[in-house]
C-alpha cells in the first residue's frame, strides 16, 4: 500500500519562515520561529512539546512525534531540525470544536479496544477526530489542554481571531476584498432593467439588519411599501432580486416566510408587492413560489407566527414545497456521515454503502438539487419568475438560489463568478456563518450549528461530477473554501451578516480568502474547462444513483483514500505546456514578422505562416 502518510490537507499558502531551537515545554515568548514548524507571518509558537507524544491515527495506528501549538494551529510532526520533517497532523485551532481529556483519572469509554490511554481527544469541524497520548508526569497535558481551550475558542474567551493577527501580504491587485461589489454584479446582470430599481433604503441596515446595504426591488414599489412588506416578512427579509434572465426577464427573488400566524393575518402590501414582481416579467402569468421546507414544517411554523402564501390569498402565484429538512436534520445527517466515514468496526467495510444510505446525506443533497434543478428549468424553459424562501431565508433559500444560479448562469461557474456568488447569496444576504459554524465558540453542542454551507458546496461538487467540463474551478478550490470556512485564517467567513462585518471593520483588520485564491489562481483551475459550455443551462440529474460520496473531501484523512495518481497535476502540467507553446508561437510570429519587414521586399510571406496563427 502507498507509503505516504501525509495527513495534512494541501495548504497552498507560501511556505512560511522556519527553524530555530525550542526547548521542551516552553511557554514561548513570542518567538517567530520554531524548529521544523512552518509559521505564517503573525503566527507564534505558544506551546512546544517535544517528543513523547503519540498520535493514535485511526488508519495507520500509533505514531510518535512532537506536538506544537501556535496561536493558529496544532501541529504534530516527526523528525528533527536537521532532517526532513514530516507533518502528520496540522489543524487550525478554530477548526477544533471540542477538546476532551481522556484516560487516567478522567475516564471515558470512548476507546473501542478497552484500553484507555491518558491524553487528549479533539473533535474537529472537518470531521476529523484526533487523539493524542502523552505521559502523565510533568503536567504536560494540563498545559496543552489549557492553552488549546484558550486559543481554540477566541470568541468565547474574548480574544481576537487569528485572522486579525495574520500578517500575510498580498499584492494590491490581488486584494480579495475587492472581488465583490453589489453594484457591479447587478450591472453585470443588466441593471438598470425596466421594472426594477435600486434602493438605498437599507444602507444603514434599518430595513433589515441581515440584508446587504444595496437591494434591487420592483420599480413600482416605493420605499414606504418596502417598509410595510418588511413588517409582514420574518426578520424584515422582504422579497428582493437575486438574478434575472438576460433575455426573458424571468427572475429569481428571495425572502423569508410571511408572518401569517394562527390568526391568518394578511398583508395587502405584501400581496401587491408579489404582484409587482410578477408584473416585471412580461412572459409570466403566475409567480412560482418555492417554499424550501416540507409542507408539514411550513404548517407548523404557522403556530409560531410564520407561515406560507396561501393560494386563496396570493391568487397570482403558485406555491411548491421542496421538502428540504431543517438545520437540525442536516446536522444529524452529517454526524452520521462522520461516523460512517471512520469505518470503526471491521464489518463497516462490508456495510459501507448501506451505512452511507442511512446517513441520508446523499438523499438530502438529492432533494436540494432536485428543487434547484426545477427552479432553473422553470426559469429557462418556462420563462417563469421564481420566489424562493424557507423560514428565515438564510439557509435553505441560499442553497436553492445559489445552486439554480450556477445552473442558469455560466458566469457563476468561473472562478471569479463563484466567489461573487458566495459573497452575494451567502455572505451579503446574511447566512449566519458565525452561528452555523460556531467560529471560535466553545459551545460545541449549540443547536444553531449546521452544515448548510458544506451541503451547498457538496451539491456544487455533484454538479461538477456530472458536467466536468463546465466549471472553470477544480475540486481543490472547493476543498480550500471548506478548509478556510473553519480555519478563521481569513476574515471572509467571520460573523453573521454584512452589517456585523462592516462594524468589525474586517476589510481593514483581516485578509480575504479570495486574495489567496487570486494569488494562486492556477492551482484552482480546471484543465478540462471548455468555454463552449458558456451559454448552456446545466440541468443535473438529481437521483441518488447519480450522486457520489465525495471521497476526495470526507475521506481525505484516510491516507489510503488519496487519489493514487496526481491527475490534477498532470492536467495542470498540460495547461502549462499549452500556454508555453502558445506564447512561443506568438513570439516566433512576431520575430518572423519583424524579420520580414526588415528584409528585402523580394521575400514574400508564405501563405501557410499566416494561416497558422492561433
Amino acid at each position: 500500500m502507498p507509503e505516504c502518510i501525509e495527513l495534512t490537507p494541501m495548504d497552498n499558502s507560501k511556505s512560511p519562515e522556519s527553524t530555530q531551537k525550542a526547548d521542551t515545554m516552553v511557554e514561548s515568548t513570542l518567538t517567530t520561529k520554531s524548529d521544523g514548524v512552518p509559521l505564517y507571518p503573525g503566527e507564534v509558537v505558544c506551546v512546544a512539546l517535544l517528543k513523547d507524544v503519540t498520535y493514535l491515527c485511526p488508519y495507520m495506528g500509533a505514531l510518535t512525534g512532537r506536538l506544537v501549538v501556535t496561536n493558529y494551529k496544532l501541529y504534530f510532526y516527526q523528525g528533527t531540525t536537521e532532517q526532513y520533517t514530516r507533518c502528520i497532523v496540522e489543524v487550525p485551532l478554530c477548526t477544533i470544536s471540542r477538546i476532551e481529556k481522556v484516560g487516567g483519572v478522567t475516564t471515558s469509554s470512548r476507546n473501542p479496544d478497552g484500553r484507555n490511554p491518558y491524553g487528549l481527544e479533539m473533535f474537529c469541524k472537518d470531521i476529523r477526530v484526533l487523539r493524542f497520548v502523552m505521559r502523565q508526569e510533568n503536567r504536560q497535558r494540563k498545559t496543552i489542554h489549557d492553552k488549546l481551550q484558550e486559543l481554540s475558542f477566541p470568541a468565547s474567551n474574548k480574544l481576537p481571531f487569528f485572522a486579525c493577527l495574520f500578517k500575510e501580504e498580498y499584492a494590491e491587485d490581488k486584494n480579495g476584498w475587492t472581488t465583490y461589489s453589489a453594484k457591479t454584479e447587478y450591472q453585470r446582470l443588466g441593471m438598470p432593467i425596466e421594472g426594477w430599481r435600486y434602493t438605498k433604503h437599507n444602507s444603514k441596515y434599518e430595513l433589515c439588519d441581515t440584508y446587504p446595504h444595496l437591494l434591487v426591488v420592483p420599480a413600482a414599489a416605493s420605499d414606504d411599501d418596502l417598509k410595510q412588506v418588511a413588517q409582514f416578512r420574518s426578520r424584515g427579509r422582504i422579497p428582493v432580486l437575486s438574478w434575472i434572465h438576460p433575455e426573458s426577464q424571468a427572475t429569481i427573488t428571495r425572502c423569508a416566510q410571511p408572518l401569517v400566524g394562527i390568526s391568518g393575518k394578511k398583508s395587502r402590501d405584501d400581496e401587491r408587492y408579489i404582484q409587482l414582481i410578477l408584473d416585471a416579467n412580461p412572459h409570466a402569468h403566475k409567480l412560482l413560489i418555492f417554499d424550501a421546507r416540507p409542507q408539514a414544517n411550513a404548517v407548523a411554523n404557522v403556530a409560531r407566527g410564520g407561515g406560507y402564501e396561501k393560494a386563496d390569498v396570493y391568487t397570482s402565484s403558485e406555491l411548491f414545497f421542496c421538502d428540504i429538512h431543517n438545520i437540525h436534520v442536516m446536522r444529524e445527517s452529517l454526524r452520521k456521515l462522520q461516523d460512517a466515514c471512520l469505518l470503526a468496526h471491521p464489518n463497516d467495510d462490508k456495510h459501507w454503502l448501506s451505512n452511507l444510505e442511512q446517513t441520508q446525506w446523499l438523499h438530502h443533497s438529492k432533494v436540494i438539487l432536485a428543487a434547484a434543478t426545477r427552479i432553473a428549468d422553470r426559469i429557462e424553459s418556462g420563462k417563469a419568475s421564481v420566489l424562493v424562501h424557507c423560514s428565515d431565508g438564510w439557509d435553505r433559500t441560499a442553497q436553492l438560489t445559489s445552486l439554480s444560479m450556477i445552473m442558469l448562469d455560466s458566469y457563476y461557474r468561473t472562478l471569479e463568478g463563484f466567489m461573487v456568488l458566495i459573497e452575494k447569496e451567502w455572505l451579503s444576504f446574511g447566512h449566519k456563518f458565525a452561528q452555523r459554524i460556531g467560529h471560535g465558540d466553545k459551545n460545541h453542542s449549540d443547536s444553531e450549528r449546521s452544515p448548510v454551507f458544506l451541503q451547498f458546496i457538496d451539491c456544487v461538487w455533484q454538479i461538477t461530477q456530472q458536467f466536468p467540463t463546465a466549471f472553470e474551478f477544480n475540486e481543490q478550490f472547493l476543498i480550500l473554501i471548506l478548509d478556510h470556512l473553519y480555519s478563521c485564517l481569513y476574515g471572509t467567513f467571520l460573523y453573521n451578516s454584512e452589517r456585523e462585518r462592516k462594524k468589525e471593520d474586517l476589510r481593514k483588520k483581516t485578509k480575504s480568502l479570495w486574495s489567496l485564491v487570486m494569488s494562486l489562481r492556477d492551482d484552482y483551475l480546471n484543465a478540462l474547462y471548455v468555454s463552449a459550455y458558456q451559454n448552456h443551462v446545466l440541468l443535473p440529474i438529481a437521483a441518488v444513483r447519480h450522486l457520489d460520496f465525495w471521497a476526495g473531501y470526507y475521506a481525505r484523512w484516510n491516507p489510503k483514500m488519496k487519489m493514487q495518481e496526481p491527475i490534477q497535476e498532470r492536467h495542470k502540467e498540460l495547461l502549462k505546456i499549452r500556454d508555453h507553446l502558445r506564447k512561443k508561437v506568438e513570439e516566433l510570429e512576431r520575430q518572423l514578422a519583424a524579420k520580414q519587414n526588415a528584409s528585402s521586399p523580394a521575400l514574400t510571406i508564405p501563405q501557410d505562416a499566416a494561416a497558422l496563427s492561433v
Binding site: M1, I541, V544, K560, M561, D608, V614
Partner: protein, 559 residues
Amino acid sequence: MEFSEFIQTPKVEDAFLEVENGTVPVTACLTGHHLILYSHNGENKEYWILHKNVDSVEKRYSVEKNLLVLKCKDFTQHQITIPTADDATNIANSIETLSSLNNPALQYPFFHRPKFTFDEDGYDLFCTEHRFASLSKMSDQWRISNINLHFSVCNSYPSQVIVPKDISNEMIVKSAKFRYGGRFPILSYLHTNGRVVMRCGQPLTGQNQKRCKEDEKLINIVLGSTHRGYILDTRTTQAALQARSKGGGFETEFNYPQWRKFHNSLQKYSIQQESFVRIVEACQDRNASSDRWQSKLESSNWLSHVKDVLSAACLVAQCVDREGASVLVHGSEGTDSTLLVTSLTQVILDPYCRTIRGFLCLIDMEWVQAGHPFADRCFHGAQSNQRTRSEGPTFTLFLDCVHQLLQQFPLSFEFSALLLIHLHRHAYASGFGTFLCNNEMERRKFKVRTKTVSLWSYLLSVNVLPMFLNPLYQTRPGVIWPSVAPQSLKLWDGLFLKDIDPSPEVQRIVSESISYMEDLQNQISELTKEISLLEREEETTSPLLQNGQNQAIDCQNSA
C-alpha cells in the same frame, strides 16, 4: 439447418422504434443474425440489432400497441412497436430462438466479413512461442512443452504451455492426472525479480488425501532448495474441505512442506452471476424511485466481489514483489477465479499489461487460451430468463476490477475505459471469433482461426485503435498498489448506468487539447524554419543581425 426455419415473420412494415426524442417509423426485417430496422423518416437510417446481443425480449401488449422491449447484453435497450400481436409474437420468438443457438458453427462470426483493412492478424499476435522468447531473456529455468499438442493431456489448455525446464513430459502427464481437468501447474507470469505466478486446477486428493510425487516435484522445482512459496486457494477453507468429498481437495502442508497455503473467499461464478443479475436489475430499473439505491447496490454484492478479487490479486502481487516469493494459484477448476487472480496480478505488477497491446495479450493468454469457457459463461447475460446454470460474469468482473485500477491510476493505462466496455460487449456478442467456444480444442475443431476474424485485428487496426487511447497516459514503470477501501471502489457507471457518463467527453477534450498542443509544436518548428531561412538570407546581406539568430536558437532549446 437453415436459419429461415426459425424465422416466422421475416418482414414487418409500419413498425415504430423508440429513440431518444420520440418514435421513428421503421420496417423491421429478420435475418439469421440480425433484426434490421429501416427508418422512413427521411434520413433512411438502419438499425442493426445482433440477435446474440439480445438477452431477453419482453412482450408488452396492450389495446393501443404491441410493444417489444429488447434488453441487450451490453445493457442497451430497444423498444419496438409492431402493428399486429401475431407478428410481434413471431418476431419475439424468432429472436429468442436465434439468440440462443448454441452450435458455434452457426454463430455470426462465421458469417461476418468485416470491411476494414488490417495489417496484423490478431490470431497470430499472441502465442506461447513469442511469450517464451521474451521471458527466456529473463530466466533459463523454463521450456515450452508440446505434450498437449492434441489436447490429450488437458482439453482446456492450449497446445503449447510453459513449464519448468527440468520437468519431463512423463511427469507432466502424471501431474495432470492428479489435477482437476488435467490442468497441471503451468507458468502464468514471470516477475522482474525472477519469482513467478503459476496456476492449475485443484489437486484430486479426495477423502484419502492421495498424493502425487510428480506434482510435488513439478512445483517444488520452481522454488529451488532454499525459497519458500505460497499457494493461494481462491476458495474458503471450508469450501476446499468440502471439495475433498467430491474427489477434489487441496495441497496439505505435510506433502508440500516448502509451500505456505492460504485461502481466499472468492465466490463461484454461479454466485457472482446472481450478483450480476441483481446489480443489472437495480441499474436498469429506471422507473423505481432512487430510494434505497445504495442498499440495493450493497445487497447485490457486486462491489464486494470486486473488492475480494482485487484484494486477492494484491495479496499475490505482494508475495511476488514485496516478499520475493513465488505463488501457485488455483480454485476448483482453475478456469474462473484462478484466472481472475492471475490476470489481475499481472495488471498490478507488469506495466506492459497496462498498454493496449499488452492488455490484449494478457486477455488472449490468460483468458482465451487459458480455457476460460466464454461460450458457457457468456451464453446468456444478466437479464435473460432462460439461463442455463453455467453462466458467470467472471470476465466482466475482471474488466470491472481493471476499471477500478484505471480510476485510481488514470495516468498508468494506455487505454481508456471505452476499451473495457467494448471487450464486455464482444465477450457476450460479437462479429469476431476471439471469444467463441470454450477452449482452444473447440476452436480448432470449428476452425475459428481460419473462418473468422480476430477481434484483436479489429481493435488494433489503424482507424480503430486511436478511439481507445487514454490521452493522459505516460509510460510508468513499476507496480501499482490499488486501494481496496470500500470508499475507493465505485460502481462502473460507464458500463452499468449508461445514461450519464461524462468520461468520453472528458477524454475528447483532453485529446483535443493534446492534439492542439501538437499543432502548436508543429507551428513552432515551421516558424523556426522560416526564421532561420530568413536569417540565412540575411547573413549574406547584413551580418549585423547575428544576435536575433541566437535568440531563436535559445527558444528552440527551451521548448
